[in-house]
């Protein structure tokens, strides 16, 4: 039950960050190598150089067009005002021709600005979406090239979050922030130029608010980030507690823990409240304070402008333009103040993506692979040493020879590492030293593709995917006909139950495959393996989670599957173990004993101890019982 709060954010669209509603204050994580990551990102962007340059040009043009507007409108106002003064004095009238001309050219400028800005957004959306697509594709195909080892140590949620959240963050920046940054910078520079051309004293006065705003912005960002982080932490606590208590609801109920859990929840909840409102309040300060500053500038300009206008040092239209410039100055400033945050965040996200893409991949296949179209199914372990990490070898010098068609039972208590053998055989891991041979060929001489085609696998962890039953069985051999699939299903004893399902073979298995039972799922995986028709089989025997009747079916199906194939069985059933041609006894990851049932009993080692422990019964009953040497691994 993973927390849904780091859910995918692709739905945010372009309304996500920035723009109106005041600057969002978020906590920023820092990338380890900012420059390196950004460089990589730019290389990634390289394929879209032309588009991006075009976007830049459009952005610049659009911004400049919009900056020119107020100044020209100011001229219109001045013309109007002068006309009015003349009219009052009776010496002339308003020059509508000039005003009309100015308005027309400004209309033109604004239109150009809007059109450019839209085209720019249109292209950029395309670029960022293409990059997002490529990022995701690269990550996904990377998953398939990485060694299984990586995923043993990595949470699936983490990989998922790279594909969704991190890629989204990067694409968000590309889509909006990139052009926003450019717009902001040009805006600030352009507005400054315009202001200086109008009147330098007024500009200097207006500029005095800049350092002040910068100071206040950075102060608030810093302060609120602290509380924001605290809020996230406490929220994490509270949500974690909720998740924990709900998951253990039955236990809480059974032990009358209601009052206690509510009491503890209240404590965390109250603490969350304290930091939550502070964090919210602090981040809400930004807008009004910037507003006061902006208004301060506005008033200063009104006063100074009025004063200058009396002395005819400035026209009314210029004051109007100036006011608009001062007003449009603060927003890009706030954005610039946030640039470093946004870039850091992007770099951190991009870094995680690149880090993943740079992970070492599986050892490449041999350059001169052998091709053995038909194998007999002989398997030999020759002085195999293996450890999940090189400094911790768990299998020490294991040798065994299995003839074609023989059955090998792997037994041992929970956590003894029984699946390790499976992973070695199919080259999910490579042996540290020694070799595994099939029909006398080192498995490393095959391509992985070829090697794995010779194996069939039925695990207890029945993996099926969100597709129809037909598709799921066909997974064993993608070019199988419908008739072959059904034949395999019949052999696996699942044709009958499939036909009772709605839509029968075309029923779609839902996400958790809760629409078929655990046992039925196992039957489907057996059908899948039967369809693949491998020479060597790896089986994981069902344990107690399956109901009795299905269990009988599974047993029959497995028997059908095992016929004439070399089999490795992770065994829980005594009958299987005793009928095996070879028993491998595992303990703490290593193969401690091997041999046939009787031989091992005679040896009175670990196997004998395991086997005999069934006699230790409360009543010391003389009956032989107990099948399960171990349960779910």
């Amino acid at each position: 039950m993973s927390m849904p709060n780091r859910g995918p954010m692709a739905g945010r669209g372009p309304m996500g960050r920035g723009g109106h509603g005041g600057p969002m204050v978020m906590s920023t994580e820092k990338p380890r190598d900012f420059n390196g990551t950004m460089l990589k990102l730019f290389k990634y962007l390289g394929a879209y150089k032309v588009s991006i340059i075009f976007v830049l040009i459009l952005t610049v043009a659009s911004t400049i067009a919009s900056i020119l507007g107020p100044k020209m409108l100011g001229n219109a106002t001045t013309t109007l005002f002068e006309g009015v003064m003349k009219q009052i004095a009776g010496t002339g009238s308003i020059d509508f021709g000039t005003i009309g001309r100015i308005l027309l050219s400004v209309t033109f400028l604004y239109l150009i600005s809007a059109i450019f800005s839209y085209i720019q957004g249109w292209i950029m959306a395309g670029v960022s979406m293409k990059i997002t697509y490529r990022f995701r594709e690269d990550i996904f195909s990377k998953i398939n090239r990485m060694p299984l080892r990586y995923f043993d140590g990595t949470n699936h949620g983490e990989v998922l979050s790279r594909i969704t959240n991190d890629v989204d963050t990067v694409s968000q920046t590309l889509n909006q922030s990139l052009t926003q940054i450019i717009t902001s910078v040009i805006m600030v520079v352009g507005v400054l130029v315009m202001m200086f051309t109008i009147n330098w004293t007024m500009t200097l006065v207006a500029l005095t608010i800049v350092p002040l705003s910068m100071l206040i912005i950075s102060f608030i960002i810093r302060k609120s980030q602290k509380y924001f982080k605290q809020q996230q932490d406490y929220l994490g606590h509270v949500n974690g507690y909720v998740e924990e208590m709900y998951s253990g609801h039955i236990v809480m109920k059974a032990f009358n823990g209601e009052a206690r859990s509510v009491e503890q929840f209240d404590k965390s909840n109250d603490m969350l409240y304290e930091v939550a409102w502070k964090s919210q309040f602090l981040s809400s300060l930004m807008m009004p304070i910037m507003n006061i500053l902006s208004n301060l500038g506005y008033v200063a300009i009104c006063i100074l402008g009025g004063y200058l206008a009396i002395r005819n040092a400035i026209t009314l239209g210029d004051i109007q333009a100036f006011i608009q410039y001062v007003r449009s100055f603060t927003q890009p400033l706030t954005q610039i103040a946030n640039i470093s945050n946004i870039l850091q965040q992007t770099a951190a996200a991009a870094e995680r993506v690149f880090e993943f893409l740079d992970e070492p991949e599986e050892v490449p296949d041999t350059i001169n692979p052998i091709t053995v179209p038909v194998i007999k199914g002989a398997v030999e372990f020759r002085h195999v040493h293996f450890g999940y990490s090189p400094d911790k070898i768990i299998i020490n010098d294991f040798s065994a020879i299995i003839q074609p068609g023989q059955k090998v039972a792997i037994v041992g208590p929970t956590g003894a590492g029984k699946t390790t053998m499976v992973k070695l055989l199919m080259r999910f891991y490579d042996v540290t030293s020694g070799a595994i041979l099939i029909d006398n060929h080192d498995i490393r001489e095959f391509t992985r593709f070829d090697l794995r085609r010779k194996f069939g696998m039925v695990l207890q962890d029945t993996w099926l995917y969100n597709g129809t039953i037909m598709e799921n069985i066909r997974y064993g051999r993608i070019d199988a006909t419908d008739a072959e699939v059904i034949a395999a299903a019949k052999a696996a004893q699942c044709d009958h139950f499939i036909r009772t399902l709605p839509d029968s073979y075309n029923m779609v298995l839902n996400e958790e495959a809760t629409n078929v039972s655990q046992g039925q799922m196992q039957l489907l995986t057996i059908a899948r393996a039967i369809l693949a028709d491998p020479k060597i089989l790896i089986l994981d025997e069902a344990t107690s989670s399956v109901d009795t009747r299905t269990e009988v079916l599974i047993q029959k199906a497995m028997e059908a599957l095992m016929k004439d194939r070399t089999g490795f069985i992770i065994a829980h059933r005594l009958s299987t173990i005793r009928d095996a041609d070879l028993i491998l006894v595992m303990r703490d990851g290593d193969i401690v004993e091997q041999g046939k049932h009787e031989e091992l009993l005679e040896r009175s080692g670990f196997y004998a101890e395991l086997y005999n422990s069934q006699f230790e019964h409360p009543e010391l009953s003389p009956e032989v019982s107990l099948p399960a040497m171990a349960a779910a691994d």
Partner: protein, 745 residues
């Protein structure tokens, strides 16, 4: 949304205060353009002179002015002025203000209010303009066009004639005729233009009085500027207070909701949990509430503010120029049109995008969880194609929506800019017709932008509200769910005789909403000191049966008695105090091993913890940890293995020292040795307790005193292993599937 209304009640005063502050804020924000327009109109254009009523007039000038007033008007005007001469009180201070006082007496305006000034404005304005015109005519007759001579034929007058003397000597009838003619002329101008035009002559009069007029002008601008500054501060203080209030309201509301939801969920029985699912309850208690908190903040700060601002803006804009309101109407209509087009295209697709993201996640998750299978079957390419399809679908839809949405900002800017342009164009002709002043037009422009902006903010409401109301409904669903299992109003105490006896009497059970009973007519008695085992296929109802004992569910029919007392007549607390329960899925809480064991009994002695761990076969691994009982347990017990978790979960139940124990398939993760040792210890240490063991392993229960075989919710066999092997077909089938014939011998 309204279903959560009552939780907002405690915050109503704060909310009202916030709205009040928003009103003040909107008003101060909206009055800024007004003052700016004053600076332009009066400060710059009229030299700081706001009215046609001068503060002071020389006596000689006044005598000229009253020539152009009716008898009655003269009285009104003179009544509002005081004549100051050398003998008046405070002569010295007046002299400082008006240096010309030294030469002649002057009329000083009394301290009158704005309504009186408004009354005087047309009277004085007309007189001032008339005097100024005649003075001009007198000084330079040729410069005045014939139309402005008030009917004097200048050529008939001898040069140097004092026109004012002439007028004052006119017969009364002729003079009132002349005044009527002037009135008619000036009335056409309108008061505002009259005042504008009078500003220049008043300035001239002030100069004559010796007043520093440029100081007057800059004082006016400075004064107005200061008012603006104060308003800005006021608005800022209001915004900050609203920010404070909204943070308090939002955080407080979400705290209360979270608390109530949590409390409610904790009181849920398994029935309610099944109804909602655990994952959904978690989302409702966490994300949904965070959504409400965010909405509340935006609600208070933006959604309430926008209409206040919009309506206030409209009122003021119309006040500035009633003839240009249509520009605002057009702008708002265009804006609403644009926004609704963009939303109607993109909003439905946002839902699709969510589905596509889920699909992408699903494929990725499946790939991660099925990595071994995928590689075993060499299906990497197939999976990559599957992912590429999901990726492409998502990217295409995202791209489309993005390309629609990027139109929003340029469109919005174009509308705002278009409005400004239109206002200047229309406004210019209005100014030319003297209907408004330039400053008014500039103010109107700012109002228009504010109005358009507030409509824009209101449109966001339509995205936010549906989203939040889904969350609100989900929260309200939890809060409004009636509890299916409640304590009786007057709970009995469980009797103390036959301690630990559990009896099922004709029990039937059906899951809420299900069509069929899962348990049919169950009858049996479990006695102290006995082990009652339940076995059967998956779905046969074993777990359901034992879950009825602690009242996780209530029976549909029949009754369950503990110590001969119907469990529905006692409090849940009392009942559960007597039951030690080990769930199928052992869950531990974060903390330490000790805190988990103590969950059963906070006051348990150290010895009893150790003993419980001993019985549960947990001592060995606990003592292998360097910190022993103080070893940290992470959330859900994820840092201990399945078998260890199960043993701790068993130990926890044992700490309780209850007369009844329920082990719901609780040995499944234990290897055989541990299983056997554990059962032996249980038998010895819990000799007096009633034990229920649910299992699928025949071996685990072969020695139980009473085995109940369940098949599709019915007891199909009751007895010991040996009895059942002979008499019960279902049992034999199960046993045979697990053990070979000889093992069963």
């Amino acid at each position: 949304m309204s279903r959560l209304g009552k939780y907002l009640k405690p915050f109503l005063p704060l909310l009202l205060l916030a709205i009040l502050l928003l009103f003040i804020q909107a008003n101060s924000d909206l009055s800024l353009p007004d003052y700016m327009s004053n600076i332009v109109n009066y400060g710059i254009q009229q030299g700081g002179i706001e009215n046609a009523v001068p503060h002071a007039v020389r006596q000689s000038e006044m005598s000229k002015l009253i020539l152009f007033m009716s008898q009655q008007d003269q009285m009104t005007v003179i009544a509002d002025y005081t004549l100051i001469d050398k003998n008046s009180d405070g002569y010295a201070s007046y002299l400082k203000l008006y240096p010309d006082l030294a030469n002649e007496p002057i009329f000083v305006l009394k301290n009158i209010d704005q309504s009186e000034i408004n009354k005087l404005n047309p009277l004085m304005g007309k007189a001032i303009l008339a005097v100024s015109a005649i003075t001009q005519i007198q000084a330079n007759p040729s410069s005045v066009p014939p139309s402005q001579t008030f009917g004097f034929d200048l050529s008939k007058l001898p040069p140097g004639t004092n026109l004012f003397a002439l007028i004052s000597n006119m017969p009364a009838a002729q003079r009132s005729q002349m005044i009527a003619a002037i009135d008619q002329k000036f009335n056409a101008m309108g008061t505002s233009t009259l005042v504008q035009a009078a500003a220049a002559p008043i300035k001239a009069e002030y100069i004559a009085l010796g007043i520093d007029t440029s100081k007057l002008q800059s004082d006016y601008i400075l004064h107005t500027g200061l008012i603006m500054l104060l308003l800005t501060l006021l608005s800022g203080i209001c915004t900050i207070s609203v920010g404070y209030l909204s943070a308090k309201i939002a955080a407080g509301l979400s705290r209360n909701l979270r608390k109530n939801v949590f409390k409610k969920v904790e009181s849920f029985s398994s029935t309610e949990f099944d109804k909602f699912s655990t994952a959904s309850l978690i989302t409702r208690s966490t994300n949904d509430i965070t959504q409400i908190q965010m909405l509340m903040i935006i609600m208070v700060r933006m959604v309430f503010y926008a209409p206040i601002m919009g309506i206030g803006g409209i009122i003021r804009a119309v006040g500035k120029s009633s003839s240009m309101w249509w520009i605002i109407a057009v702008a708002v209509l265009v804006l609403i049109g644009m926004i609704s087009i963009i939303y109607s295209i993109s909003l439905p697709r946002f839902k699709i995008i969510q589905k596509l993201v889920d699909r992408l996640n699903l494929v990725t998750r499946e790939n991660l969880s099925g990595m071994m299978v995928i590689r075993a079957f060499n299906m990497q390419n197939f999976e990559e194609k599957r992912f590429a399809q999901a990726n492409k679908d998502l990217t295409d839809t995202n791209l489309f929506v993005n390309r629609v949405m990027v139109g929003m900002m340029p469109g919005m800017m174009l509308i705002m800019n278009g409005v400004s342009l239109l206002i200047i164009w229309v406004g210019a002709s209005q100014v030319a017709q003297s209907a408004i002043q330039v400053g008014d037009m500039m103010a109107f422009m700012q109002y228009a932008i504010q109005i358009v902006f507030s409509f824009m903010m209101m449109s966001f409401m339509f995205i936010l509200l549906p989203r939040a109301s889904v969350s609100a409904d989900r929260i309200a669903d939890v809060l409004d769910t009636p509890l299916t299992i409640k304590d009786p109003e007057k709970p009995k105490r469980i009797k103390n005789r036959d301690n630990g006896t559990v009896e099922f009497r004709n029990v039937c059970f059906r899951y809420p909403g299900a069509e069929e009973d899962v348990l049919h007519d169950i009858n049996f008695t479990a006695k102290p000191g006995q082990t009652t085992a339940l076995i059967g296929a998956t779905g046969s109802g074993k777990s359901t049966l034992v879950n009825l004992i602690p009242r996780f569910y209530d029976v549909t029919d029949g009754s369950i008695l503990v110590n001969c007392t119907d469990i529905r007549t006692v409090s849940q607390h009392d009942l559960r105090e007597r039951i030690g329960y080990v769930p199928q899925k052992s869950s531990l809480f974060s903390g330490t091993i000790e805190s988990n064991l103590r969950y059963a009994d906070e006051n348990a002695s150290k010895e009893s913890l150790v003993e419980a761990a001993d019985i549960a076969q947990a001592t060995e691994f606990i003592s292998s940890k360097p910190e022993g009982l103080a070893t940290d347990i992470s959330e859900g017990g994820s840092n201990v293995s399945g078998g260890q978790k199960q043993r701790l979960s068993i130990a926890r139940a044992l700490v309780k020292k209850a007369p009844i124990y329920i082990f719901d398939d609780s040995f499944s993760a234990l290897d055989f040795k541990t299983d056997a040792a554990l059962r032996r210890a249980l038998k010895q240490k819990l000799a007096d307790s009633t034990l229920f063991i649910v299992t699928q392993r025949v071996s685990t229960i072969k020695n139980a005193d009473q085995i109940l075989v369940l098949d599709e919710g019915r007891i199909t066999g009751k007895g010991t292993h040996n009895e059942l092997m002979k008499s019960c077909e279902t049992y034999r089938e199960i046993a045979l599937s697990q053990l070979s014939q000889e093992e069963l011998a």
